[in-house]
Symmetry: C2
DNA sequence: TTACGTCTGTCCACTTGTGCACATAGCCCG
DNA sequence: CGGGCTATGTGCACAAGTGGACAGACGTAA
């Protein structure tokens, strides 16, 4: 079909996804025969509202997926980012239901995929596999809850800083985020000119620099200072809930930062 | 222990909760021996962040529970309402994990309860039971996603109207909501004076009246006109996802409205 | 019936964010 | 090297929401 697809994934060389890497060898062996690995480009749509959810996508490496809620204006609102700490598609619903949101590749890169039916069949055979996916589902829920609260009470400035940090933690690139002001504004649900102004104020304070199509971070601590704590709250929940579950050297979204 | 608790719940007289009423007789029979029914008063805390989630609570009749996300200021932000269309506690996580949010009784009334372990054991024995809870989990997720988007882009006026409608649909009382301006402001995450002003403008337009501690709806259509469509979007997802699953005369949050 | 505590309506000065407009800068492509 | 597209920086008038203050209304309890 497609030269990019490599059908085989040896257990010895698991995809660079923390969820898959957390699985015990026995659990991963249940999934491995059904896991495929390929590359998705930015803005590629994984699901649209109403689509039958049949495949779970695991972002690997610097890939990033995002949940977009369609709006009456046609403006989609970005809700949560999912990177190599997790997966999208049928995590909570267990698949075979119409998607509610749009799910879209934000930053392109490798994705591991498995058919929901195969995953569910494996979950029926292994309590520990079931357990780890339930734990991740809980973390994802926490992430959305926190976003809801964040959108209700935090300033655009705080949310801008938070978003840049969250994106960097997931891609592993601690110095830049490939994003235009327009894109940033859209995902924050604000006007473009205001997003530009916020970035300008950060720039004036030496926190970051702007390039055409990218944001370069100059002072990560300064950025943390200007962000709300939502990101950290979610990170703590990830660590608490997934701690001790077949621990690997990598922990959840925070893996890149100490 | 407590005289309010009635340990027995005959299959013939199921608690007034749509999720429980949707279960097939066989599935309900698996749960019935473990279901208790009692009354909770307003502001009663069901879970606080970090609590071990062990019990699922099903609001019955006009009872309403709500998920609150704690904030650095000590101000909790209200995220989603759950009434007789659903349940709270371990729905997504399948229990035995620390709660992320505070879960609180908003409007007091009867609640059916079951220990998560009993529910999970029953789910292991019945695919259809598993299926219906996965479907509800998906609906709850949709609800939170929509809230996230709503908080990002809709005005306080729209959200106020939406919230009043959502509360009425769940309690079944189509004419009033027992809420002070202060409470309304808190749950919207805004200042009290602004909430009062919004209510005043609605009042001036003949949409509602205000009483000490309550909001009286005078013109439901007018209220719908002033609300964003978030409520309807979620309702449609409920109907689509739960349609045909052991249908009863009652459908999801919308049951009270045609 | 009165007293008290809480809820409500409204004022004001101020901050945050909107939406549009337009000049300019960066960059890819021929 | 230069044209043209898109991204960026900024100005402005306006709308939305904040937070504190305070008078008065309501309703419960004694």
């Amino acid at each position: 079909m497609d030269a990019r697809i490599s059908k085989t994934t040896e257990a010895g060389s698991r995809p660079a996804n923390n969820l898959l890497r957390r699985l015990s060898p026995a659990d991963y062996a249940l999934l491995a025969p059904h896991v495929t690995l390929d590359v998705a480009g930015p803005n590629e749509l994984l699901y649209s509202p109403g689509d039958d959810v049949q495949v779970v996508h695991f972002p690997c490496g610097p890939s990033l997926a995002t949940f977009l809620v369609p709006n009456e204006d046609g403006r989609d609102v970005e809700t949560i980012l999912v990177g190599r700490e997790g997966a999208v598609g049928g995590i909570v619903s267990e698949g075979f239901l119409p998607a509610y949101t749009r799910i879209c590749v934000k930053f392109g890169g490798p994705f591991a995929r498995i058919h929901v039916a195969k995953l569910e069949a494996a979950k029926m055979r292994s309590a520990s596999l079931r357990n780890i996916f339930a734990r991740y589902a809980d973390c994802m829920l926490a992430q959305i809850f926190q976003s809801t609260a964040c959108n209700a009470i935090h300033s655009i400035e705080q949310r801008t800083a938070k978003w840049i940090i969250a994106a960097m933690e997931r891609t592993g690139d601690e110095s830049s985020v490939p994003l235009t002001h327009e894109q940033l504004a859209t995902l924050l649900g604000v006007g473009r000119s205001y997003a530009s102004r916020v970035l300008q104020s950060f720039k004036a304070e030496g926190v970051l620099d702007t390039r055409r199509g990218a944001i370069l971070v100059r002072n990560l601590d300064g950025l943390h200072l200007r962000a709300c704590l939502c990101n950290d709250a979610v990170k703590m929940h990830f660590e608490e809930v997934l701690r001790g579950v077949y621990p690997t050297e990598e922990t959840s979204p925070s893996s890149a930062r100490g």
